[in-house]
Every structure is written in structure tokens, then in C-alpha cells.
């Protein structure tokens, strides 16, 4: 099929109304082609999880999503809860940040995996389901997968649990796999192993991936493209190398810390003075103006639009042409 797998336009996510209303996503435009890996970066609270939860249809009750999220020609926001549920675990799958709590502590991992497979491939005979589960656990590098099936999550380490989550996602053969900071809760060596696993799995996995991470080095290694989120806005996007090597937007520059030449790109997000805007703030101009080193008078009154910069890059900044 031609066209992108996922196309998001003017996606807004808000809570409440009136003065205390929270704007969590403030009009996101984003496209993801088939088979590509998109990294999403941004400080905590910039709306990364909210974005992917909205794609999954897993936003908590009380939040309002407007705009369009088109997956292979179908607008997800227009779907009934039943249709949406039918997409999850089939065409959409997700890996979560905290592997310690993402698996049900009182069911064996085999049971949890088998339930997901049975939902994904209804009518498969039990023996085949079991075999698929064992095979998937083996594929993600769990030693002795047959026996591990009988373990409870509490008997596995964090890294092993995250492997189980990845196995769960893989057996669904989703068109879109979402990983929300899958390694943030793990220590560095385990993180490296999980990233390595994802890189290897990439080759036989046909679908697209959205990968949220705090670690720009990881994004650089794993992703094809990157989108930078700030205060519910998408401020910059483009090919991962280009964006992270030569960021355009002042926020991306600050993130990468490119002003300081010797900062390794593998470092966690750099510290930027000031803090992420509250969801209740409604600045008239650029959302980043308060913290921006390059902000000028118009930045405080005019909101910049996300505009194409060359063939494949986009950035939302009024002063792009004037920046050093």
C-alpha cells in the first residue's frame, strides 16, 4: 500500500475545560512509513507517553483526543472501543517502561503469553500456541524458555521481564510496535543488551516501530527518524542522524547539547535551565520562548508553525534563518 502506515494530523489531547483545562498535546503532525523506526525524544512531561497512549487508544477516561490518527487508511479516533480493542494485540502492540509492573504478578508468564497468542491467533490448537510462546521466549534470548513458561514474573529479573514483554509484542506481529522508554528502568548493561536485542529483531520484524527514549545515543543507534516533543508540540523532526548531528530547533540544540562540542552524543538528555511548561499554560507565542537562548520579541507573540526545512526535515521556530 502506498502512503505512510501512520499519519497523525493536528492531534490534540486535553483534559477538563475552562480555566483549569490541561492541553497535553497541542496539535501534533507526524507521519511514519512502513518498516521504519521513529524515535521520540523530549524531556519528561513533554507528552511522549500521552502521544503513544492516544495512538493505542489507552488514554485514561476524562481525556479528550481530537484530530486524526490514521493507521493504514483507518482513522483510529473514529473507531468504536470494540474496533479499537480488536486492533490492539493485532496491528498495534506496546512495550512499557517499567517491566517490574507491566506483567501480572499472579499469573505465570507462559499463561500471559498464551492468552495474548490465543487472542491474536484465535482457533490455534493449544499445543501450537504453547510452541509459539516457547519459540518467542527463545527468540528474545530467555534461557531455557520451556521451563521459564512456568515462572511467575517475580522470579525473573527486570531485563528478563522486558524480554518477555518484547516476546509478547513479537507474537502479535503488529504493523506498529510502540516501545515507551523500554530501557529507562533498567541498568546500563541490561539496557545495552535490550537495545542490542531490538536491533537484531529489527531484521525479521516487518512492522514499523515508535521508540521513545531518554537516551539520544540509543535513538541514534536504533532509529531511522526522530521527532522532538516539547510541551505537547512537535518542535522538530527528520532523519535521525541529520537531526541529532545538526539540530535546527533551539530546543533540540539544547537537548543534544551541541553548543558544548565535547559532550558525547551518548549522554542522557542534557540539563536545560528552566522547566517544561505546565499543561495549563497557554502562551501566545512559542512554547519554548521562556527557556530559549535565542528568543526575540516576536517569539513571545507569534506561535511558530512546523515548517519543512529542506527535503526531509521539519522544525517549528520563527528564527531558524537567523540562528548562528
Amino acid at each position: 500500500m502506498a502512503g505512510p502506515l501512520l499519519e497523525i494530523s493536528d492531534l490534540r489531547l486535553s483534559a477538563g475545560s475552562g480555566k483549569g483545562a490541561a492541553a497535553i498535546l497541542r496539535g501534533i503532525d507526524l507521519a511514519l512509513a512502513r518498516g521504519r523506526i521513529l524515535g521520540i525524544v523530549g524531556e519528561s512531561g513533554s507528552g511522549k507517553s500521552s502521544l503513544v497512549n492516544t495512538i493505542m487508544g489507552l488514554t485514561p477516561p476524562g481525556l479528550r483526543a481530537e484530530g486524526r490518527i490514521v493507521l493504514a487508511g483507518e482513522d483510529l479516533l473514529g473507531l468504536s472501543p470494540v474496533r479499537m480493542r480488536a486492533l490492539r494485540g493485532h496491528r498495534l502492540a506496546m512495550i512499557f517502561q517499567d517491566p517490574m509492573t507491566a506483567l501480572n504478578p499472579v499469573f505465570r508468564i507462559g499463561t500471559q503469553l498464551v492468552d495474548v497468542i490465543r487472542n491474536r491467533h484465535p482457533g490455534t490448537v493449544p499445543a501450537a500456541v504453547e510452541a509459539m510462546a516457547v519459540e518467542a521466549l527463545g527468540r528474545v534470548g530467555l534461557p531455557d524458555p520451556g521451563r521459564r513458561m512456568r515462572d511467575y514474573p517475580g522470579q525473573l529479573s527486570g531485563g528478563m521481564r522486558q524480554r518477555v514483554m518484547i516476546a509478547m509484542a513479537l507474537v502479535c506481529r503488529p504493523e506498529l510496535l510502540i516501545a515507551d522508554e523500554p530501557t529507562t528502568a533498567l541498568d546500563a548493561t541490561i539496557e545495552a543488551q535490550i537495545i542490542d536485542l531490538l536491533r537484531r529483531l529489527r531484521h525479521d520484524f516487518q512492522g514499523s516501530i515508535i521508540f521513545i527514549s531518554h537516551n539520544l545515543g540509543t535513538v541514534m543507534q536504533l532509529c531511522d527518524e526522530v521527532a522532538v516533543l516539547y510541551g505537547g508540540h512537535l518542535v522538530e523532526s527528520g532523519p535521525v542522524r541529520a537531526v541529532l548531528r545538526r539540530p535546527l530547533h533551539p530546543y533540540t540544540r539544547a537537548l543534544v547539547g551541541c553548543e558544548i562540542d565535547d559532550r558525547p552524543v551518548d549522554a542522557p538528555l542534557a540539563f536545560i535551565p528552566g522547566k517544561v511548561p505546565e499543561t495549563t499554560e497557554r502562551p501566545g507565542g512559542c512554547i519554548f520562548a521562556d527557556r530559549c537562548a535565542y528568543a526575540a520579541a516576536p517569539c513571545r507573540t507569534t506561535a511558530p508553525r512546523l515548517a519543512a526545512q529542506g527535503d526531509d526535515r521539519r522544525a517549528a521556530c520563527l528564527r531558524l534563518g537567523e540562528l548562528p
Binding site: A86, R88, G89, H90, N104, V106, D115, G154, M168
Partner: protein
Amino acid sequence: MQSYPAYVINRILTAVLSVFGAMLVIVILISLVPGDPATVLLGPLATPEYAQHFIAEMGLDQPVHVRLWRLAAGFAQGRLGTDVISGQSVNTIVAAALPHTFALAFAAMALACLVGIPAGVWSAVRKGSAGDTAIAMVSVVFVSVPSFILGIVLLVVFSIWLDWLPVLGLSPSASLRDAAIRMILPTVALALGWIGLIARLVRTSMLETLGQNYIRTARAYGLREGLVHYRYALKNAVIPTLAIIGMGFGRLLGGAVLIEIIFARQGLGSILYDALQARNFSVLQGTVFVVVVIFIAVNLLTELSYALFDPRIKFSRR
């Protein structure tokens, strides 16, 4: 960390100690009960010699430690004593009553779980709906009104006004069907409070569980809501209530005893009631001992099975 066998041994020793402690309390309490049993039982006209003989027969002339020792020795051999009035073995008396009390308690607990658990899940899933509010209000009434009052109300409404169900008792010759019909009101009276309690506990526990990350995972993989609620969430939600239900079983037996008295049913209740009325301590201490042992045994089983049921309670593996 303890291994499971070590944990089991530890709990069993604690339970045995508790039984022993309870016996001590029984003996001391009996020695403190006002009213000379000989006078109460034999009437004021009994000769002092006969009263003396009677007291000696019951062992009441001995100091507490001797009585405790005799009692313990007898109980340890499975002898609950002899009813000084009828001459029957207390074992026989208790054995005849026990099945009735157990049947009532188990039926009530089964009914309470059968109704209370789904009601709790249903309320949690439809939090804030009219149904949830209704269940909450009914639960509060059930929990706060003592079961013997509920029993009397049921008795008046269903047996006397509506005349749907037989008034009282359990005739010894009754058919199974008749026995079952006569079980209905006492069971319901005993269960209502537990239905309310279990519904509240399960609701609270379900709401907490439904907010957990693993529930989000189940949803993220498209599992049906029924499966998410009644399988993935319920097992987590029920574990904390399980302990309370188990611990409550002792209280349930206590409630059963009262209900038995109200509905004039055979059972431990009527035995205890009669024995207490008559200051018949030989029967009283044997029966109370049995109740205590059941209570402690149920709690022990609850703890042990709880530890097995919840894989989060970890024991070191060899």
C-alpha cells in the same frame, strides 16, 4: 529468607501454642464465672456431701494448674471429657452437633462469596453508576446490622408474614429437601453481612488493581474486558480479601452459634447455650476447646494457603 517448610513448621508451632493459651484462658474464665455449678445444677436442696462429690467429679476442687494439666492431657488424647449430668461423652455430643454448625457456616460463606465477589467486581467496573451506589448502600446495611437481627427480621418476614418458609429448626427425621429448605433463612441471615463485607472489600481491591500497569498491559494486547476483569484483575484483587475471609471464618462460626439459637437449630450453638445456662462446665470447656481449635486451624490453613496462592510471597528455593 525462610523456606516454605520452615514457614509451615513455624506457623504450626504458633498455632499449637495458641491452642494451649486458649485452654488456659478457658480454665481461668471458668474458675471466675459466678455461680457455684453444684448449686445451679443440683438446686439449693442438694446435700452438701453430694455437692462436694459433684464438684470433685468436675474437678473444680483442684487448683488451676492441675485442672489445666488434666484438661490438656485429656484433650491431647482426644478426650473432651464426660458430661457430668447425662453421663454422655462430650465427644459424642460435639460430634453430633458439629456437622450442623459446619454446614451452616460453609453454606453461608459459599453464598457470601458467590454473591459478594461478583457484586464487588461489578461495582468496581461501573464505579459511580447508580448500581454501584445501590450496592454500596445495601452493603452498608448488611454489614452494620448484626446477623441475629437480620435473622429475626427474615424470620418475621418470610416465615410469619409471607409464610413461605418453615419457621424453625431442623427436625431430626427431616428429609434432605426439608433440611435444605430449613437451611435457607439461617444461611441467608448469616451470609448477608458477609456479602456486604466481601462486596466492599472486593470493590476497593478491584479498583486498586484496575489501575495497575499489568492491567494496562492486558488492555494493550486487546484482551476482552471480561477476561481483564474476571481473570487478570480478580485474582489479584481477591488475594487480599482471601485472608480476611479466612480470618473471618472464626467470626462466622460465632455468628452461626447465635443464628442456631434464634432458629432453634441443632449445633454447637445450642450446646454452648444450654451448657452455659446450666453451668455445665464439663460440656462447656470441651465444646469451647473444639471451637477454638477449629478457629485456629482455619486461620492456620488460611495463612498457609495464602502463602502458596500468592506467588509474590517468596520463599527461598533450594
